[in-house]
């Protein structure tokens, strides 16, 4: 049984209607942020969820943790259905499921010492028998994420730390309850290159040490190589391709994935890639294109693409793509 099972997950946000819209009886419109997403993540596996802004990747992460309510669909983590739990059950279950946010300055309370911030989840979930024991656990965690000496960092405030150090605090806080499953939402996107790799290495080490299952959300395909076992590519609320890193980077099948890979700027002037850059930008998710949502920008578009939605086809073992070229 997979650690995380997601089936036909949907989130349709209602578009705000003005008074005039109501008077004119304009129909309620919805932003179909996530529109039927399904995948599994095995125990100890890291699934990379890659897409551009507005693809629905962040919403997917939040839906899985039930930080926002789904419109439709099933999410099971460690066999438990997240959406049939009561509020109290879910609150207790949060010990097992954590999130690492993108912007550590926004995710940390500026008036809370970082030691207290890391201890907070321990208190909420009644872990440790006394404050002394909890403090010892926090010290150990601070050391583990290389914020040493721990007694010095314990009493500091977020603004006294650098961006990389703050992100270490956010990681420490997410992992101190020893969760089984973690959503990392653009966890290293805000950091400079020289710091980014440090944090990726730390996350990779901790993931192996604590045997964590992870959903790694990113817009940057290049960083997924180091940490992700498999990758799912999202476009306009749907997964268009899923496979191992090797499948996706060496043998991308979906024209969108191919475009995404060829657009990555590489620090190598001689490596002039055969670029396939689609025209235009991601269309409006209120009124997504009919059929395959990528068809208006696709350079391999066929008649059928605007008429029907493609199904997932297995093109090689463990590599699925949703495109009529392969049906």
């Amino acid at each position: 049984m997979a650690m995380v099972e997601v089936r036909n997950l949907k989130k349709h946000f209602p578009v705000k209607r003005t008074f005039i819209d109501v008077l004119l009886r304009k129909p309620q419109l919805y932003v179909k942020a996530v529109d039927g997403v399904s995948f599994d993540i095995e125990e100890g596996e890291v699934l990379g969820l890659v897409g551009e802004s507005g693809s629905g990747k962040t919403t997917t992460g939040r839906l899985i943790l039930r930080l926002i309510e789904a419109t439709e669909g099933i999410v099971k983590i460690a066999g438990k259905d997240v959406y049939t739990m009561s509020k109290e059950e879910l609150r207790r279950f949060r010990k097992e499921i954590q999130i690492i946010f993108q912007d550590p300055l926004a995710a940390l309370n500026p008036y809370m010492k970082i030691g207290e911030a890391i201890m907070h989840p321990l208190k909420i979930h009644n872990i440790g028998s006394s404050d002394r024991e909890r403090k010892r656990m926090v010290y150990k965690m601070l050391e583990r994420v290389n914020l040493t000496p721990p007694d010095e960092f314990y009493v500091r405030y977020p603004k006294e730390l650098s961006g990389g150090q703050r992100q270490r605090v956010v990681i420490a806080r997410a992992l101190i309850t020893r969760p089984k499953f973690v959503v990392a939402d653009e966890a290293v996107a805000m950091l400079d290159v020289s710091i980014r790799s440090q944090l990726l290495k730390l996350m990779l080490d901790l993931k192996n040490e604590f045997n964590i299952t992870m959903l790694f959300i990113t817009h940057d395909l290049a960083t997924t190589k180091y940490i992700c076992d498999r990758i799912a590519v999202m476009y306009l609320g749907k997964i268009v391709e899923i496979g191992t890193f090797h499948h996706i980077s060496e043998n991308p099948k979906h024209p969108y994935t191919q475009a995404l890979i060829s657009a990555v700027p590489e620090p190598d002037p001689k490596k002039k890639k055969q670029k396939i850059i689609p025209q235009g930008e991601v269309p409006n998710p209120i009124n997504p294109p009919s059929g395959c949502r990528f068809h208006p920008r696709c350079h391999k578009v066929m008649d059928i693409c605007s008429k029907k939605e493609p199904h997932f086809v297995e093109v090689e073992d463990g590599h699925q793509v949703s495109c009529f070229l392969y049906e």
């Binding site: 990389g164 020289s194 190589k225 995404l260 700027p265 590489e266 002037p269 930008e281």
Partner: protein
Amino acid sequence: MLKIEDLKIYYESKKGLVKAVDGVSIEVGEQETIGLVGESGSGKSTLGFGILKILPKTAQITGRILLDNINLVSKTEKEMQKIRGKEISMIFQDPMTSLNPIMKVKDHFLETIKTHIPDIEEDKALEMTENALKAVGINPNRINEYPFQFSGGMRQRVMIALSLVLNPKLVIADEPTTSLDVIVQAQILEVLKELKEKFQMSMILITHDLGVVAETADKIAVMYAGHVVEFAENEKIYYGAKHPYTKALLESIPNTDIDDLTLKYIPGNPPDLVNPSKGCRFAPRCPFAKDICFEEEPPVFEIDGSKVKCWIYKGDENGDG
């Protein structure tokens, strides 16, 4: 065409004097693109803004910025206004905050044009606007729309068109693609490359991403903590980096090569620019640091056409040092 000599830009702050740019010398040739690369806090944006003297009042600027042998450092604000937009223009990172939300696209252009050519006829100005928009791939019939009606990538195209409308000699682009998605970024980089050739201008492309300038820049200047630590031709940087910081920076970029799974990084953090150490500013993070690196700031050595600010190359130089 543009020559910067020993430029220093210091800011007054609560903590003390921030030495954001501390003795930088670079040159930009005719129709040349310079990639100015560095991490946050390296001083790359301050340098870019400094060339146009768009700096806070507390900034102190010394040294020389020579545009066709005219020193901009000694120019008054009024004289600078004549240069900005006409001789040197700027493309900003975030077009949503740099375009006026309640002004039509057309009016942005007319304002810029009329500031520099006050007695221009309306028709002529509109024609210039339409040509600039066409050059960046925007349909000229959108000139009556407002910035919010454009997508992120299209807004950046408007910004680029606006910076080109008066045919400047030099365009400074400050992280022009950072807030954009990869596919849109690739589109915009393509537009910049085409325009550079069409309009025959020079460009300074400021970025934190060595990947972005690999295909566009002729020369690269790498900044670290207020210093340009290496300045060389594009290929010399990517295939023969000399400064330990440049090497480490290149190694820490994740590439898409499947077989290369090593994750390299630079230990430690960049220094505080209020009280930078007296020696080489990279010394505390440098694997090759010697005693002298902590004691004395290295001069710039010229090695095989690369300018490197590092003690390793003392004695190897050919020419000035």
